[in-house]
Amino acid sequence: MAINKHKNILDYTLQSLLRRKFKNTGIILVFTFIIFAVSSIILLSYSLKKEAGMLLKYSPEIIVQKILAGRHELISTKIKNEIMGIPGVSKVEPRYWGYYYDSGVRANYTIIGIGVSGIENNRLIKGRMPSANEKNAAAIGREIADARIIKKDIGDSLNLQNSEGRWMEFKIVGIFESDSEILTADLIIISESAFKSLVGMPEDTATDLAVRVANETEIPTAARKIKELFPYSRPILRDEVIRTYDAVFGWRSGLILAMFAGALAAFIILAWDKATGLSAEEKQEIGILKAIGWETSDILEMKFWEGLVISLTSFMCGLILAYLHIFLLDGFLFAPALKGWSVIYPHFNLAPFIDFYQIAILMAITVLPYIASTIIPSWKASITDPDTVMRG
């Protein structure tokens, strides 16, 4: 193993790159921007999907809604027992939820009323969940705590206007933690009775019913039987919700990626043009190196290092910038297009999920072609006699 030989060639490559620092810096900047843009979209859409999936895994297997004239209506809680009678169903719970528009901060909040069984996935930053019989207690998402001009904390009051226009005062008893913010950022949880008072919901009704089915294979059958028993109902399976999230984020990220495909193509053409047309100076340099005793393989090794250093530096810079952009700066450049409704809903932070498979593919379609486009023309120049190259 001629380790020193490779070290020497690498050393020469780095000096070579520094000699053309303006040209190489230009290539690195363009390359970095492309990787940054595409990686940002990949990281953002993947994190949105993962975050949604992570939270939805706690959701009930089936949600039963009432549909009237194609629209979601309040459902009677009296049908609970009939649904419990369906084989495989282990639990039926009414859910109380809706949206509350806060004109003060111009944002919609998701508001949930909880009964005696509480809710699952109730991890909090601090404090506790309100109990079923607490009329004036609330747990809130971090973004609601931060969104108000005067920041809210445990022990502070949160005033909400009910359906009759009267103000209801809630004491904040808990604030949600941040690693699952896609759903909890804009969340207000109060007791079931407080929810009904707030929105003016009639007795014996709920927003929908959450149905638990112990055996995964029985879920479609249970959903079909619910539909047969209550033709006005719409049973929604958890898997369908996850698929919808995937489709929505996949479609949006696909649109943006399509826009950047043009930029990517332009860069590939630029790289190809740069690489295929060796300048007279570069050709002469290869000729000199060959004349003084470099083998073709040595020149190819040097060109390989050159391509690798430029493309890998750009790739890593682009990827790190994309990571910082998405997970520290909330993806402010692309998030509005991908989140869609986030302009109305409160802002939230994403947990950092990385799809290594997609990153590896991005690396394969950018770094490898760049290295190849650096090596191939040099190979053509270096297989000819050095005398010819030098005179040419």
């Binding site: 001629a2 020193n4 070290k7 020497n8 470099w294 083998e295 050095p386």
Partner: protein
């Protein structure tokens, strides 16, 4: 049909170890091509080039390169230094693709630059040097692999008389150390030197005359 030019033909010469040989003749006479053939930089379409009785002209490219690196030191007419690199880096170029350690590589370059009085210029970028300094850098580069044969193509073409004398003095010194010198030139200042012991006169790609002085 390709346009083919026969640059040299019917050439049969023998250069001995320790010779100070001059290939002389006007521009276009084939001197550079012959030098290129001797130095394994190109291959003859027919005929042989023997280095220490070994036919190197039919060697695979890899072995030919090794012969070129280990046996020859080249000094080109235009110097062919790589711009943007320092004097020291240019001198080290031939030994980069070898297993020599970086510290040994630097030491060798420094030693040769010292010998040629260029040590104070080692960190200079070559394009900032004078013509004479550039040529001494080119000589240092030709010597770093301690070659047995030094080939120089029109080395005094861009030098004034003083610098030409200085160059020839260095070559003479190397010859006295046992190296073989082959210079292609049409400069009388070179071929009229008393220590030049082999003349090969070329015209129209052919040897028109050859002779030994001593």
């Amino acid at each position: 049909m390709r346009d083919e030019v026969t640059a040299v033909k019917d050439v049969s010469i023998e250069i001995n170890k320790g010779d100070f040989a001059v290939l002389k003749g006007p521009s276009g006479s084939g001197k550079t091509t012959l030098l290129s053939l001797i130095g394994c930089m190109s291959r003859p379409t027919s005929g042989r080039v023997l280095v220490e009785n070994r036919d190197v002209s039919r060697l695979p490219e890899r072995f030919m390169t090794k012969v070129r690196r280990n046996t020859f030191g080249f000094i080109f007419q235009q110097f062919h230094l790589i711009k943007g690199l320092t004097v020291s880096d240019n001198v080290m170029l031939p030994l980069y693709p070898t297993d020599i350690t970086p510290s040994e590589l630097r030491k060798r370059a420094e030693d040769i630059l010292n010998t040629l009085g260029m040590s104070d210029r080692k960190k200079f970028q070559v394009q900032k040097l004078s013509g004479g300094e550039q040529q001494r850098t080119a000589i240092a580069r030709a010597l770093i692999n301690n070659p047995a044969i030094i080939l120089a193509d029109e080395p005094t073409a861009h030098l004034d008389t003083h610098l030409s004398e200085e160059f020839l003095s260095i070559m003479r010194n190397l010859q006295q150390q046992g190296k073989t010198i082959v210079i292609a030139t049409h400069d009388p200042l070179v071929y009229e030197k008393e220590y030049v012991n082999l003349y090969i006169e070329m015209r129209d790609g052919m040897v028109r005359g050859a002779g030994r002085k001593h």
